[in-house]
Symmetry: C2
Subunit: 204 residues, 2 copies
């Protein structure tokens, strides 16, 4: 992000518009399948304009897309995501996740797709995506920690491991929505994950 | 596969060698990041040789890579994968999956990565990958059906939904091994999935 430029409010709005339109292109065809020429054509931007807003080129733009998609995906899970300290809240989060991904034109998760594609091609951007995913997973872990402290989970339950298992179920469910073109795997994955959490509930 | 050519045993061996070497290149850099020139250089194959074995070009080669990776990944899970009709067998499968992916030079799953990358770029090959994944998931479902029939799962347990939740956990765990560069998420995902199955166990 060291190459990021200072922008006027109007410039920031233009940059945001480019990122949003480019995010859609990358979502449909992947980073590798989307050239800077495609992005210029799809966003109605000149070469010099694109260079002005993204002096670091495609990699910098991809980093901005990852941040944009991450912010959008996390916002769609709020307020549930920040309040995962009761069983009702987990159910609400499950419903919010299904509602968000079910309302998208595309299947799967833009963040998971970026993670998979960038890992071998752009380690720096892949690390950005990993950080976004850690931030996301942190909400799950924080909720589970609070539930354990409140006595809702067994004292020996490990919030970190449980959060990992829920987060994995979520992302695998999202991957399978792509291959199966159905929301059912995501539903099965989330319900399975909540069953796993319930198995760690304090009894009595 | 209609463009597939008839091959002598020697020709079949050469073709298999190309597929295996190309599979490694694609694993490291993705389909989009691997050109036919890269594949020629990486496999020591001439342009006409590559066209002889893969008259359908890169897409046909990618289809062969998907079949090769699928066969390899499924073989590594055998015999457990075909015998998932006891709790001990599920534990054995979990261990086999962890051992296989833990022994790879790369993180993540070649099949899941192909699924994500091909979905927007090559619908025909994406459908091939989806079929490989359905085949894989079918083993989980078949085992769970037999367990229900044998009274190990509750009569109202749905083998299809349970298989989906386990398969999602597996693929999400594999995705997170990539972003986190650790086997821990896969372990947490599989153990979470087995907890979900245990919650559907017949009691008494």
């Amino acid at each position: 992000m060291s190459s990021e430029v200072m922008l006027t409010p109007k410039g920031a709005a233009t940059r945001a518009r480019i990122v949003e339109a480019a995010a859609d292109l990358v979502l449909a065809r992947g980073v590798g399948g989307t050239s800077l020429n495609d992005i210029r054509a799809g966003t109605g931007t000149s070469k010099s304009q694109l260079f002005h807003y993204f002096p670091g080129g495609k990699s910098e733009l991809v980093g901005a897309i990852a941040a944009f998609q991450s912010e959008r995906v996390l916002r769609a899970q709020q307020p549930s995501l920040g309040e995962l300290d009761s069983w009702a809240a987990w159910q609400g989060w499950r419903d919010a996740v299904l509602a968000h991904y079910g309302s998208q034109r595309h299947w799967g998760c833009p963040i998971g797709a970026l993670a998979t594609e960038l890992i071998g091609n752009d380690p720096e951007r892949a690390a950005d995506v990993a950080r976004h995913m850690d931030h996301w997973r942190g909400y799950l872990r924080a909720g589970l920690s609070r539930m354990r402290d409140a006595g809702l989970l067994r004292a020996d339950a490990d919030p970190d491991t449980l959060a990992l298992s829920v987060f994995a179920a979520l992302h695998g469910g999202l991957l399978l929505t792509q291959t199966m073109r159905s929301l059912k795997p995501l539903e099965a994955a989330l319900d399975g994950a909540l069953t796993t959490l319930r198995a760690a509930a304090a009894t009595g």
